[in-house]
Symmetry: C2
Subunit: 155 residues, 2 copies
DNA sequence: CACACTTCTTAATCTACATTAATGCACCGG
DNA sequence: CCGGTGCATTAATGTAGATTAAGAAGTGTG
């Protein structure tokens, strides 16, 4: 359990690394993402204050995801094995969130996905560039732009 | 821990049920699926012999998914809480699989998803109707039909 | 056996989103 | 102060897959 200061853009984990750590964000903003064969970046999740971010592989297996900092951040580095063993309900919750996301990706339109993103990360919209939101939603920045234009305005 | 005989088409769990059980398939084939607001069915997973299938919610919360039998099956009904507590690595493995699936849904074409399905469930293709495979892939049966036609034939 | 019923396929048309390209802006370093 | 670089937006054109519709083949039921 170690406190780390992370600069904007600094990479904490690369695909292929073996990383037995996870990161609890005290302040700032991290993200995890994959890079496809075709070289496209897809953001898997954002981790603002109090979120935990990690690659969900066994502590001794190579990672699938990159993790880096979108903002300068303070994070606690913890041991995956130790931390997770205690918290089965949290793991189940995580699976449940993923389950919902899979189902959403299978049936929701770009607009619906955007609305869901806003609900999931209410205060992230202002903090990250549009292209990252598009990357999280699995659409292009251009498509996101038109979605935002057409979107029923609330408040 | 109870052995159950399940008829083809029999429903083990409905959306909204509170179900503290999970199911280990001894023989046969189960599936879990959701039904969207628009009434569309999306298969979330298949569970052939030796697989475990359940809704990933806390044992005391209402379920998101339906579970039913595609073939007449013999399943062991077990207690979620009890079973899962023992097996943190299995939970992590599950999260990892979901992580990969989310990423795939974000960037893979219908063809790539179909190939991945074949790799994941090598002996299911013959056992379920095409429309269920399409439902699992998040495409229409018509689209699956053309994918199969165009697909690079192997052996 | 005949009949309804479901599944699978094929083809024509439609649509959401991708791609490409052009423009306007903000930010940054010289 | 100016020119570069990256981001957001808009519009045009392209395309994967949805929708619709029809017919062929299989399956269970009276």
């Amino acid at each position: 359990m170690k406190k780390i200061e992370v600069k904007k853009g600094q990479i904490l984990q690369r695909k292929g690394d073996v990383n037995s750590k996870l990161y609890r964000v005290e302040s700032g903003l991290l993200r995890s993402y994959s890079i496809s064969d075709k070289g496209k970046e897809h953001i898997y999740m954002f981790a603002p204050e109090n979120w935990i971010i990690a690659d969900s592989v066994a502590p001794d297996e190579p990672c699938d995801l990159f993790i880096d900092a979108i903002e300068p951040s303070i994070v606690w580095q913890e041991d995956k094995a130790q931390h997770l063993a205690h918290d089965v309900p949290k793991l189940i919750k995580r699976i449940n969130v993923l389950q919902k996301r899979v189902i959403m990706l299978m049936c929701a339109s770009a607009l619906e996905r955007y609305e869901h993103f806003l609900a999931t990360y209410p205060d992230i919209v202002q903090r990250v560039p549009q292209k990252m939101i598009a990357s999280y939603l699995g659409i292009t920045p251009e498509a996101l732009s038109t979605v935002r234009r057409k979107r029923p305005q609330k408040a």
